[in-house]
Structure formats: structure tokens, C-alpha cells
């Protein structure tokens, strides 16, 4: 049982890392602010989500698992708002920004 859970952790966290890598590549390669933001939100939402999901079976107590999920939810809230703010500022600055 614990072997299956460990394997699940490795797969989910690795998949999360792939999303972070893709997000970082997108941040470097995409041409303008809005598409770069689009790449970053994938890393934040799905990448971190997969990492948290993978770490859940490793939590020693249920409370620790709840804390992990709360951390993910807070990042969702903050990164969503910040993306919105950056996108709005970019649109005000004009298409060349």
C-alpha cells in the first residue's frame, strides 16, 4: 500500500515539475506580457496543484494535509489577482509592453 502511495507521490510531483518547467520556458519564449502570463498561470495552478496532490499521502497527520491544500488555495487566490493586475497594467501601457 505504501509503495503505491509513494509511486503516486513521485508521479504527481514529477508531473507538477514538468508543468513548472513548461511555465518557465513559456515565460522566457513567449512574445508578449499576456501570453507570458498565460504560461505562468499554468505553472502556478496545475503545477503547484499536482505537487500538493502528490504530497498529500506523505502528510503525517490530517491537519498537515489540510494545511497543504490551504496553501494551494491561497496561492490560487493571490496569483489570480496578481495576474489580473499585471494584465490590466500591461493593457494600459499599450501593446508594445
Amino acid at each position: 500500500m505504501s509503495l503505491i502511495l509513494d509511486a503516486f507521490t513521485v508521479v504527481a510531483v514529477s508531473l507538477g515539475a514538468v508543468f513548472f518547467l513548461a511555465g518557465a520556458v513559456g515565460l522566457l519564449r513567449f512574445p508578449d506580457t499576456l501570453t507570458r502570463l498565460h504560461a505562468l498561470t499554468k505553472a502556478d495552478n496545475v503545477g503547484l496543484g499536482l505537487v500538493v496532490l502528490g504530497l498529500l499521502p506523505q502528510a503525517e497527520r490530517p491537519l498537515a494535509a489540510v494545511k497543504l491544500v490551504v496553501a494551494w488555495l491561497l496561492v490560487q487566490l493571490a496569483s489570480g489577482t496578481v495576474s489580473q493586475l499585471i494584465a490590466r497594467a500591461a493593457r494600459r501601457a499599450g501593446p508594445s509592453a
Binding site: L74, L77, A78, Q84, L85
Partner: protein, 315 residues
């Protein structure tokens, strides 16, 4: 082992690279962005050194609060950035600065490298007397019992820093409110965050102060989170900074240090020495002092971000 070593080496390279970037950046904004990233990387370094208390402080104060203060300075300096960039200090001056910085770095490196092995430590003694203080976190015991004088002076220094910021206000605005932190345009998502996040953040901040007695955490880290929530509501335009001349503002600012000082002076009669706690009452006193300091530190940090008075006093 080798994997952990590889991660540590990668961290060291990243920290050094970020430090060089921060110094080499030609304009203020990239330098500040680099400084914040540098602070977050240092947090990871402290975690790798098994010092979660320092890591929390670095994340909250080093990366977070200092970053916000520097960003505020950047936006205030924008008007003069052009002329400042045009002026280059003379070569001898830059040489002297580089020489002094190298000297200081070399001296610090020499001190660290010349430490006897194992390095002298008071940790076993601090751990042995821990039960007398009633708190379970040795870091908190050091900060509020063994070396309480340092923490008292620290809270006074924070107030002095705020007085320094306030003294930049023109005479006609003295005692008035700082300029509004709100964005120039309304933003629905920011005001949503400003309403949803503070209840969570305040609970989290209080929790970190409370848990600091027995686990990593403490008043500075918790107070920074509470201050951040206050600043968030001010930036979202949900409230404006208070007038700095109000009696209640001044009272909240000095409450922590004043209570700490009073408890310290009471120690003369109750326990025979300045800042000594009567036996059996150490833990309740420490928790009470932390609570009072949290309020004052949070208010001080929030007002440091808000800056000096920029409006006349309303009558």
C-alpha cells in the same frame, strides 16, 4: 546525500547569482525584483540549515516587507530616476566603495572561517534551562527571556525608524494622513482579494505568534503578516492610512515597547533584576509581551509602508 549536496550547490549558485544581479542592475526596479528573489532563495538556504525561525523571518521581513518598502521607494524616486542615472560617481570614489565592501566581506569570511571546530555554542545551556521559562521554542526563550534586552532595544529601534520616516513630512502636513496607497484606477479583483484575504491572514498571523512559544514562529513573523493584510486593504482602496497625529495611533505604536519596559522594570521588585520574570510567571508574561509587541510591530510596519504625512490635518 549526493542529491542533497547537488541541491545545496545549486542553491548557493542561485543565491550568489541573484546577489550579483541585484548589485549589477542599472535601474532600481530590476534591482528590487532581484532583491526579493534573493530573499526568497535565502529562506530556502535557512531551511536547508535547519533554522526554520530564521527562514520565516527572512521570508516575512527580508524578502516581503523590505521588498515592499524598496518598491515604494522606487515609485517615489521615479521622477528623479533619469537625472540620477545620468550622474556617475567618479572612478576613485567607486574604487573606494568597492575596496571597503571587499574588506568587510573578507573580514566576515575570515571570522567565520577562523571559528574553532566545533564552534563555541551556548545551545546546550539554553536548552537545559528551557523548562524554567515555560516556553518550548528555544529561539523564543532566547529572544524574550535570556536576551530580552536585545528584543526590547529592537522594538525601540523600529519606533525610531518610523520617527525617521515621519520626519520627512513638510511642517504644514505634520500629524496629517500619509498619501493614499490605493491604485489610481479601481480594480475589482484587488478589492475582492482585499476583502477575502485579511480574515485568513489575521488568523494566520495570530496563529504564528501563538505557536511561536513552542514551535517555529513568533511576533515579528506574525506581525508582518498582519501588517501585510492592513497594507493590502489600503492598496485595494478599502481604507486610507490614519492621521498620524491621532492619540490612538501613537498609543498603539508605543504599547508594545512600553509594556515590555514596564514588565522589565517590575522585574526589579518581583524577581530581583531588570527584565527578570518572577518564577512560575515567565510563560504568561512572555505571551503577554509578545501579544502587545505584535500589535505595535504590525502597526509600525504598516505605517512604515504608508510613509510620512502628505495631507493637512483635518479639523
Amino acid at each position: 546525500m549526493t542529491f542533497a549536496l547537488a541541491v545545496d550547490c545549486g542553491l548557493v549558485v542561485l543565491v550568489l547569482g541573484m546577489a550579483i544581479w541585484t548589485i549589477a542592475a542599472r535601474t532600481t526596479f530590476p534591482a528590487v525584483a532581484g532583491f526579493v528573489a534573493y530573499g526568497l532563495l535565502l529562506t530556502l538556504v535557512w531551511m536547508r540549515l535547519a533554522a526554520p525561525d530564521v527562514a520565516l523571518t527572512e521570508a516575512a521581513i527580508g524578502g516581503g516587507l523590505t521588498g515592499v518598502l524598496l518598491l515604494g521607494a522606487t515609485s517615489r524616486l521615479r521622477a528623479t530616476a533619469q537625472s540620477a542615472a545620468a550622474e556617475r560617481p567618479s572612478a576613485p570614489f567607486r574604487l573606494i566603495v568597492a575596496g571597503l565592501c571587499t574588506l568587510i566581506s573578507a573580514a566576515i569570511a575570515a571570522v567565520v572561517l577562523l571559528l574553532p571546530d566545533p564552534a563555541p555554542t551556548l545551545a546546550p545551556e539554553a536548552g537545559a534551562k528551557l523548562s524554567l521559562t515555560g516556553v518550548g521554542n528555544a529561539v523564543t526563550a532566547v529572544l524574550l527571556a535570556y536576551r530580552a534586552l536585545d528584543t526590547l532595544l529592537e522594538s525601540a529601534v523600529l519606533l525610531l525608524a518610523l520617527v525617521g520616516v515621519w520626519s520627512l513630512a513638510p511642517d504644514r502636513f505634520w500629524g496629517g494622513a500619509p498619501r493614499s496607497l490605493a491604485l489610481r484606477y479601481r480594480d475589482g479583483s484587488l478589492s475582492l482579494l482585499g476583502q477575502v484575504l485579511p480574515p485568513i491572514g489575521i488568523v494566520l498571523g495570530v496563529y504564528i505568534v501563538w505557536v511561536g512559544a513552542d514551535a517555529p514562529g513568533g511576533k515579528f513573523q506574525g506581525a508582518t503578516i498582519i501588517a501585510a493584510m492592513w497594507v493590502l486593504t489600503m492598496m485595494a482602496g478599502l481604507q486610507n492610512p490614519p492621521e498620524l497625529g491621532r492619540a490612538w495611533v501613537r498609543l498603539i505604536l508605543v504599547a508594545g515597547a512600553a509594556f515590555f519596559l514596564a514588565a522589565g522594570i517590575a522585574g526589579f521588585w518581583l524577581a530581583g533584576a531588570f527584565l527578570a520574570y518572577p518564577p512560575g510567571f515567565a510563560k504568561p508574561l512572555i505571551v503577554a509581551i509578545e501579544a502587545a509587541l505584535t500589535l505595535s510591530v504590525a502597526a509600525t510596519l504598516g505605517l512604515l509602508v504608508a510613509g510620512p504625512s502628505a495631507r493637512p490635518v483635518r479639523t
